[in-house]
Symmetry: D2
Subunit: 323 residues, 4 copies
Amino acid sequence: MKKIGVFTSGGDSPGMNAAVRAVVRTGIYNNIEVYGIHRAYDGMIAGDIHRLESKDVSGIIQRGGTIIKSARSAAFRTKEGRKKAYESLKTAGIEGLVAIGGDGTFTGAKIFEAEYGIPSIGVPGTIDNDLFGTDNTIGYDTALNTVVEAVDKIRDTASSHDRLFFVEVMGRDAGFIALRSGIGVGAEAILVPETPTYIDTLIQKIEKGREQHKSSAIIMVAEGDDAGNAAEVARKVKEKFDFYDTKVTVLGHIQRGGSPSAADRVLASRLGVAAVEALLEGKTNQMVGVVNNQIAYTPYEKAIKHHNKLNENLLRLAEILST
Amino acid sequence: MKKIGVFTSGGDSPGMNAAVRAVVRTGIYNNIEVYGIHRAYDGMIAGDIHRLESKDVSGIIQRGGTIIKSARSAAFRTKEGRKKAYESLKTAGIEGLVAIGGDGTFTGAKIFEAEYGIPSIGVPGTIDNDLFGTDNTIGYDTALNTVVEAVDKIRDTASSHDRLFFVEVMGRDAGFIALRSGIGVGAEAILVPETPTYIDTLIQKIEKGREQHKSSAIIMVAEGDDAGNAAEVARKVKEKFDFYDTKVTVLGHIQRGGSPSAADRVLASRLGVAAVEALLEGKTNQMVGVVNNQIAYTPYEKAIKHHNKLNENLLRLAEILST
Amino acid sequence: MKKIGVFTSGGDSPGMNAAVRAVVRTGIYNNIEVYGIHRAYDGMIAGDIHRLESKDVSGIIQRGGTIIKSARSAAFRTKEGRKKAYESLKTAGIEGLVAIGGDGTFTGAKIFEAEYGIPSIGVPGTIDNDLFGTDNTIGYDTALNTVVEAVDKIRDTASSHDRLFFVEVMGRDAGFIALRSGIGVGAEAILVPETPTYIDTLIQKIEKGREQHKSSAIIMVAEGDDAGNAAEVARKVKEKFDFYDTKVTVLGHIQRGGSPSAADRVLASRLGVAAVEALLEGKTNQMVGVVNNQIAYTPYEKAIKHHNKLNENLLRLAEILST
Amino acid sequence: MKKIGVFTSGGDSPGMNAAVRAVVRTGIYNNIEVYGIHRAYDGMIAGDIHRLESKDVSGIIQRGGTIIKSARSAAFRTKEGRKKAYESLKTAGIEGLVAIGGDGTFTGAKIFEAEYGIPSIGVPGTIDNDLFGTDNTIGYDTALNTVVEAVDKIRDTASSHDRLFFVEVMGRDAGFIALRSGIGVGAEAILVPETPTYIDTLIQKIEKGREQHKSSAIIMVAEGDDAGNAAEVARKVKEKFDFYDTKVTVLGHIQRGGSPSAADRVLASRLGVAAVEALLEGKTNQMVGVVNNQIAYTPYEKAIKHHNKLNENLLRLAEILST
């Protein structure tokens, strides 16, 4: 293998740049040329492919976003799109791919490999931490810090005013961000999609806090909670319990940006190096992760189909700590 | 004067604690006892008044919120409420007040002085920066930094994805936060209540950016803009121009919290000292501010009635810089 | 067991407050009274012991430092001191201890248990991450983020000026902080006590960077490196290679403070809960840790004697990425 | 005027990039071509001059450092150097200059204008805030926030341990950073070059704090204080008063980097716009500043010769607040 391509796909996450840098530098270290494929599969189809040298990835380890841009491609889901993509790669002489992203990214890579035999290694880059085969995805730790810092600010004003805050964080199908950040900010309750939410139980909890003269309460809500998003849950609570001044905050895309945390930079660096080394060893169709602090490889199929389960001990912990 | 009271009222802002600390320490320096009145006028009515010593305000200069809590009081708007408040102060022996807050706070203090002769000096504590008689209110600078840091994160992800973001910041009647933070983040457009917003002009601007291959656009929207809040403006734009993936973020109460900036800590310290010194000199019914880097006193009446005007040069500047 | 004591000892670390909070809340949840022992063993000797209720630990999860203070005790190393400490605990009715700290803390607890039979569970709180029996110590992740953020600022100015920076971080015997933060900032070289440092090799590396037109270089130095601290290494380099303007920064105690990261808050919460539950189950003389994302218990003896080894793969990684 | 050049010179400061962006965009807005002169006068001599377009300054407003690099030039102090510089500018067709920097920068520009008639406008970019003709220099506010955030972390650990910290900040000739940041962190004492430091008085202050059971003390030291730098002052204090565990921290070049604060971004934007407009109006040999919130122009000669005076009221304030 003499030339490989790297791209970032799906929702971007902090640390993607650190991963790209690691891929490029590891390539160079192994006398391989590395090419950045801009805007993921869309750019692969369009041939938007450029050589990346050491200096091109200098000074990007600390930057959020992705310098080679991300996209979700409709065209790549068509046979025709993938054919064009293959032709672009052939023209550029690219023999292997490092695909940084999530579920959708790896699904695309898997189909592409089956059809055209281009080997690829996946790197888990998403703030959602929902991928099987790695303890943490790149960006998850940074997103947690972002949420925790934002909610700390809300706590300041909540405590000054006897207020009840509903804070919505990302998590359409999974409560990873809500659960850990909820513990981190000392939330009075944490609502996640994985467990049923009972409004009456929630109100009891808030009332109990009030009786203990807690000056404020913060309820973390994963956007995909079964009781609705933060605004809906707030409305349902307010209908039955109107003691506090109630406010809703939706953190939104702030969670996807920002300079990556130390942990995410190290994780991204490790995975980027391991991805290139795996390609060179002839591996393909696998996602590289860190499991129990060791590099581990998981077939795309498994990484996509299974999902990390929410740590139930942490749910119990949240219960104890909001006493 | 041997005993004075201090309270924080209305929407809390970062730096209020630094101001309370300055009031307490300046009192002690002048051999005066300082009492904290908890939850502002409500606590004054209820007699929730406690002596504050030097150590009570140690280690609070860096904290957001207010350790003596804030509130908006309905009871103080009644004759009966103010009578009770007066009796509480008399019981405690309090002869003068430092009122930290905004419009509503000073209006209350003014009526109270007229009715019961309790002298008071106001300290401008609000993130909105809309008070006449001071170049900056305590908390404004911190709020700007909070907005700028949050939108920097959004820019990371916006740039990675060709996205159009509408970011709503506080400002029901005034665009101070939107304008300065909009310049600070390099917003493509800034919508403020003080000037009319034309959706067609806004779309032209966004389209022009797209033609220049700008990868993203961020539109700052003061919540009280005449074209609606961020969600409404986004909807109106999307109806006519659907090139970008459009997202709305509402920063909400994050803007009221956080550790105060260096500038807000210094400002709060200066104003807290000046407020106590003014009381001791027999001043009353005035707000203390910093104008052109000098301490200045403005009668409550003037501070409440007039409002700072938006700097029109900055509007022009924003226009030039989004070229 | 009806009453337990908790204390923080040795060098403080961000997240100690979160651990104290977890101990108190878990006690209350299990109908146990929890007492804070101020200034660790010194306060135990002096009887400086106070009941902690739920509200006392409200609003501390986000604060650096430790509200019950830390100290290193000379007196506790004497038989007489320990006797007094035992009498204080007896008077207060305390039947078990949660000891938050490092090596020295656990050594003291072990001797104390042998002499007086007071059971104790240790919680690893130190930024150095050098304790066997836990993947991470409380405060390590925060310290890494603090270093990375500080060095990012240095990189800004280094890049603007063609400068060579030597940055000294904590680590008298171990390079954990230097290694991970060095990877995180993209350091050109990382000097740790665990491996020999050759000045000539270091200079070759810097010269190679210069030939590749790198505009700056940052060398991370653990304070206990065999070639000396940052100032000494800088001097040795400058003697032989004088191309760059050379600067030395010593981050010092900044590394011990700051609001804990999300990961440290969650870790501290988990360990605090597990420590109390272990005491209730009759465990003693053990440190609680998180190993491979599971709670694990390690006898004090083992935790003290062994040390975590530096991950050699990360050293290799640093080499590749500075290419 | 059809072509202008912009450069950043001397010690870099956060916000220089925001100023460069403003210069470029204002040029484009006025149909002028803008050229970046890399590494200041050195690059001018070498002809390292490149056209900057709108997209080149996109996404730099939030970055510390300077994308066109800074330098201090020995060659430009020679007649020969300046001659070459003039020839480079002539070749490039550059008719006017925006010089972003401090004293030395403007001195060079003034001599150059006298010799070759190239008009220039200066923009004050330095963290030291020591330039006459502007209330704040670009970078000063950010540096204050950096110092305050760092010392907040030190305070956490100082409070946990009964420690005495000496923190050295930049300021060879002026105490601007020490004074404002010292007030901002609630320092127990602030040592600046402008006033004499008496070690005995300092010790009395520290002792008084100890008697009041203050758990820690932080002494801010401007590097150019008459009693020596932080290490020297610490040694002198320790000789006579040895109650506390004493630590020294030197913040160093961290103070020059980091993402600029909101205030610095707005200031840099205003000054960048005003500088280009001044050149177009035929102004030269002047520094543009913001005085009392208005744009103001000061002849280089005056800006260089005079210095801002330390606000003596703030010194008094620091005294009161450390009570």
